[in-house]
Amino acid sequence: MKILVPVKRVIDFNVKVRVKPDGTGVDLANVKMAMNPFDEIAVEEALRLKEAGKASEVVLVSVGESQCADTIRAGLAMGADRGILVRADGRLEPLAVAKVLKAVVAKEEPGLVILGKQAIDDDCNQTGQMLAALLDWPIATFASKIVVDDGEATVQREVDGGHETVKLKLPAVATTDLRLNQPRYASLPNIMKAKKKPLDETTAADLGADIAPRLTVVKVSEPPARRAGVKVASVAELVDKLRNEAGVL
């Protein structure tokens, strides 16, 4: 069974985000970019399934500008087998990406697609669910454990208030939550090896996917800042302020 893992190039999670003064977006010039952390978890999970003999090949796909090839190489350095870069310019919405991925799935015929639950840039949390919808496949979101056996995936999911477990008939889609695994670091020899792994390139147009945005971004702004308050000297003063000044006790 082949596992397909879509990976997104996003601003590195350690970078302090700055909104552009003209309100058109977030400043990405000369900012460190990296693989979306939830996608790293997805790559790691696919690799572990392969190492456990549950999968034969791990294929990465990224949709976007040419630099997304770097993101794919990062996943190949972790141990994935090959990559597919789908070139597409402009702002890509989850629905557009899901349509591209649907076309990639039709060609690659994976038994399982594992995605990050959300990207840390647009925080949409949609692509995996939309891909499953377009494929008419079952989905388990927010996975904290994935077991593959006998054409089925048993997935433990993080839900409000605890965990639940669902069983999906493959082919299926799963999206990763934070505690599914701890992604490995790529070793230097593996980074060198990754440079020679196959990376095919195609375009969204060649795949026949409609990627026109549906939403108009009117503006991007700084959220209202919270002002730092006062330091109090004692518990008694704190309780007094909460009671008599803030009125929340």
Partner: protein
């Protein structure tokens, strides 16, 4: 024109998140119908009918809907979507799972985690973990929205809407519910609590986490939350995590104990009305957002706080 609100419930009870999402749904300006889909979910449907502003409740009862699996639930919503201009749900684990599936089946781009209805077709939503706010306008066709419930006040309880039964979809042939472990707690739910007290890595053990936070939570009738560091270290269950990838809360009072204030955590609590930070490091970033800061040792301060309440 009408808006369809998908209720968050556990069959027996309606979650407060539904009442909060209703407030957002009503701001779209149209009549609101509420869909309660489950099994033996009449109590939840009855509660939904009492919410102020609801014009009609649709109740779908069936085995296929017992656990709100996304495949049958999305099929039900799409089958009933015809007359609705907008489909709205609170951004809960279930809502976030099912609504993008609905959106894709309808070939519509969803707007996730709406925090403000600017106009019936224009919405604000947080991006980059709340470090920026995006204002988006939707085009022609239906609107599909998930609502960040912490950003809206719950609708009141003065309604009396009719309940109409609709047919449940067949079972999903390719997905099945196996089981669930849901923590039961006498405390209020994290996302609905008026007071939240949260702990970080500074507690050093799960035992300390409970020993120092629970007595105060009991006195204040507060929910207990945790930072990602505390959850990763095993001091608290993962469903207590407050932050970008956990729960987003907006209580009247948020008490952060031994939490440094990573951006990731702030994203989950900065909408609290009053923030108190207790930390031994006077330079901790949490003090930059706290209304009241107290520098000192948790192990001294928390027992003293408990006695003072």
């Amino acid at each position: 024109m009408t808006t369809l609100l998908i209720a968050d419930h556990d069959n027996a009870t309606l979650k407060e998140t539904t009442a909060r999402a209703l407030t957002a749904a009503l701001e779209l300006g149209d009549e609101v119908h509420v869909l309660v889909a489950g099994k033996d979910c009449n109590p939840a449907a009855t509660a939904a009918a009492k919410l102020t502003g609801v014009a009609k409740v649709l109740e779908a009862n069936g085995d296929s809907l017992a656990h709100q699996l996304p495949e049958p639930l999305a099929a039900l919503i799409v089958a009933n979507a015809g007359p609705y201009e907008a489909i709205v749900t609170p951004a809960t684990a279930t809502g976030k799972t099912v609504l993008p599936r609905v959106a894709a089946l309808l070939d519509i781009m969803q707007v996730s985690e709406v925090i403000r209805v600017v106009a019936p077709d224009t919405f604000e939503r947080p991006i980059y973990a709340g470090n920026a706010t995006e204002t988006v306008k939707v085009g022609e066709g239906k609107k599909v929205l998930t609502v960040r419930t912490a950003a809206f006040k719950p609708a009141g309880d003065g309604g009396n809407a009719p309940i109409e039964s609709i047919a449940a979809p067949p079972d999903s042939a390719r997905s099945a519910f196996v089981g669930a472990e849901i923590a039961t707690s006498a405390r209020p739910e994290l996302t609905a609590a008026r007071v939240v007290i949260s702990g970080g890595r500074a507690f050093q053990s799960a035992e300390n986490f409970r020993k120092f936070l629970e007595p105060i939570a009991d006195k204040l009738n507060a929910a207990i939350g945790a930072s990602r560091a505390a959850v990763d270290a095993g001091y608290a269950a993962n469903d207590l995590q407050v932050g970008q990838t956990g729960k987003v809360v907006s209580p009247d009072l948020y008490i952060a104990c031994g939490i440094s204030g990573a951006i990731q955590h702030l994203a989950g609590m900065k909408d609290a009305k009053v923030i108190v930070a207790i930390n031994k490091d006077p330079e901790a970033p949490i003090f930059q957002v706290a209304d009241y800061g107290l520098v000192g040792d948790l192990y001294d301060i928390l027992p003293e706080l408990e006695r003072a309440l």
